[in-house]
């Protein structure tokens, strides 16, 4: 029998979070048995789209401590990679969808190599400028991208239920990928960089390299989410890259729990379904979420997942553990 790796806090914490994530995903797989309404299935599909971006952003911001303000812009890039190939070259989706991973990843590589040499606020500043300007370029190049009319994208699969399970499958793959990455030495390197960049460099970690890898993976995940969303909505438009969309992604991660595996999933599901209810109350959803972001960042750094865990720990303690 091969020796099991020595259990430690990092892997056991990760494993419990991964199991909880699987439980959430399993619960999502059961939902179509209970909910037949096309409307609510659509809401859940879109919230899974956001959950993919939230997971990608969380890998970069929560685990590596690098703040990109462009997850939605990379989703838009991914969507347009698929859309432009289909529109100009009639490329089928088995070429178009992989391109929605490769193109944003390449842009991430170039941008990351340039910006990540500098630490601190540079990444946030540059990605935000990049996000707004690239959206404007797509909006203005009417000949090439049809501007704000958007591009039609062929459907990957017809029907709500099919799309639902495609999104769920991809989301599960992404969560699994991130779990796998975090169990590699890479995961610990990223957290070391987040906690103390200079300290990490002094222990021989190639800081620039690992920051760039995290950025590329994060961009590629967001890009694929965008490409997939395009095939579901059959349309990509510059609206995908609005700052408000990035704001929604950040709200989900901060409310769910930054730097945890399950936090972004919990956050995305809660925030997006809640926003459907709040929209009916009078369109106050973004006001509520922005206020919650500030309150959580100020007082509950670990988000809902951290609050839940604190309650669980306290209950276990009061039961009188040895």
């Amino acid at each position: 029998m091969p020796a099991r790796p020595h259990p430690n806090l990092h892997t056991s914490k990760l494993r419990s979070e991964f199991l909880l994530s699987l439980a959430i995903l399993g619960a999502l797989a059961m939902v179509p048995l209970l909910v037949q309404s096309n409307y609510w299935l659509g809401v859940l599909i879109v919230s899974m789209y956001f959950a993919m971006m939230a997971c990608g952003w969380n890998l970069l911001a929560g685990y590596a401590g690098q703040f990109s303000l462009a997850p939605a812009a990379f989703a838009m890039l991914g969507g347009y990679s698929t859309g432009l190939l289909a529109y100009h070259l009639d490329a089928p989706l088995w070429i178009g969808l992989p391109m929605s991973i490769i193109m944003p990843g390449l842009v991430g590589l170039v941008l990351g190599r340039i910006v990540l040499r500098l630490s601190g606020a540079y990444l946030a500043l540059t990605t935000l400028s990049f996000a707004e300007i690239i959206r404007l370029v797509i909006y203005n190049s009417i000949d090439f991208t049809r501007g704000d009319q958007g591009l039609n994208v062929p459907a990957l699969y017809d029907g709500r239920i099919g799309n639902y399970y495609i999104f769920l499958g991809v989301l599960t793959l992404i969560v699994g990928l991130i779990y796998w990455l975090l169990r590699l030495p890479l995961g610990r390197f990223l957290q070391a960089i987040r906690d103390d960049e200079i300290g990490a460099a002094s222990r021989g970690i190639d800081v620039l390299r690992y920051k760039t890898i995290a950025f590329i993976i994060s961009c590629a995940i967001c890009g694929f989410a965008g490409g997939l969303y395009g095939t579901f909505a059959r349309l990509v438009s510059p609206e995908l890259g609005l700052i408000a969309q990035t704001g929604l992604v950040i709200a989900m991660v901060v409310i769910g729990g930054m730097g945890t595996l399950a936090g972004p999933l919990i956050g995305a599901m809660l925030v997006y379904t809640a926003s459907e209810f709040l929209r009916d109350v009078g369109g106050i959803q973004m006001i509520v979420f922005a206020a919650l972001v500030i309150i959580f960042a100020r007082f509950f750094r670990e988000g809902l997942w951290g609050l839940l865990r604190r309650v669980a720990v306290r209950r276990a303690a009061s039961k009188g553990t040895p």
């Binding site: 303000l69 540079y122 935000l128 300007i133 950040i250 006001i287 960042a297 100020r298």
Partner: protein, 296 residues
């Protein structure tokens, strides 16, 4: 002749940019964080000016100080309630400073945009002009009265800001805090007050920029996003935290955009800043006037 005209117009646009960017650079200088709600300070200035001038019917030049007051208020409140935890109380905040600052100021930006969208409505308004003069010519240049008065106000504000920082006691305290927060506090300087003053000054500058441009930009809740993006580009180009650097970078960007819009492409005029930003990050990452980061 065209070239000279473009140059002067570019400088004037650069002056608007400078009003925004200087405040951002000052905040970075003193707290080492970026205020992602800066564009909303601008938006609040534009709205205050427009709503007071149109709603109360007061002359526009009286609405301008009101906009400045609103900018000072939002700056003060941001520092008092959101930024102060960064440097009082918690010893462990040092580690999470960037995270907290990015998330909270970005959240504030979203909150203000959506609050104004809900309370005042998403439709753009039209601000009254300060000086409704038709186009007039000064020597060889043709320009509108509003542009001229904006340029004059911007220059006056920036000169008085420079005098304030260089000469006044509070200004010198701000310089000291920017150089070394701990050292300044040991020397008896109230560092919290210095930060508060910087946030208020930054709010005033952004709000006045918004108010002066209200007749041109037509205030809407999301009107601050783009000027803010421009000022982020500018502070990186000028060197994070350098006030003269950000002024020069702002003028440079204004002139570059003004020429590019005519000689290269009008549709893509907003991308020149991004290209310049990437070039600077490649060739001179500390910015035009920045010092190489020193870590102790």
């Amino acid at each position: 002749m065209l070239a000279l005209d473009l140059f002067v117009n570019g400088l004037i646009i650069g002056l608007y940019y400078a009003l925004m960017a200087v405040g951002l650079a000052m905040i970075f200088g003193i707290l080492k964080i970026v205020n992602f709600a800066h564009g909303e300070f601008y938006m609040i200035g534009a709205y205050t000016y427009t709503l007071i001038a149109l709603g109360l019917g007061v002359p526009p030049w009286l609405a301008l100080p009101a906009a400045a007051l609103a900018g000072a208020l939002i700056g003060w409140a941001t520092e008092r309630w959101l930024m102060r935890p960064l440097y009082t109380g918690y010893g462990s905040w040092g580690l999470m400073k960037d995270e907290y600052a990015v998330v909270v100021t970005f959240g504030l930006s979203l909150l203000l945009i959506n609050l104004f969208d809900k309370v005042i409505g998403p439709y753009p308004m039209r601000g009254p002009a300060l000086w409704d003069a038709p186009r007039l010519s000064i020597g060889p240049f043709m320009m509108s009265g509003q542009k001229l008065i904006t340029a004059a106000v911007a220059i006056i504000l920036m000169v008085s800001l420079a005098l304030f920082i260089k000469r006044s006691l509070w200004g010198r305290q701000i310089q000291a805090v920017a150089q070394n927060r701990l050292g300044a506090s040991i020397a008896g300087i109230d560092t919290a007050r210095a930060s508060s003053i910087v946030f208020m000054a930054s709010g005033v500058l952004a709000a006045i920029a918004g108010a002066l441009l209200a007749p041109v930009i037509n205030p809407a809740p999301d009107v601050g996003i783009f000027p803010a993006v421009k000022s982020y580009v500018i502070v990186v180009i000028g060197g994070m935290g350098s006030i003269p650097g950000s002024i020069i970078a702002a003028l440079l960007l204004g002139v570059l955009e003004s020429f590019g819009a005519v000689y290269l492409s009008y549709d893509y005029r907003d991308t020149y800043g991004l290209v310049l930003l990437i070039l600077i990050l490649l060739l001179r990452p500390q910015g035009l006037f920045g010092e190489r980061a020193r870590e102790v």
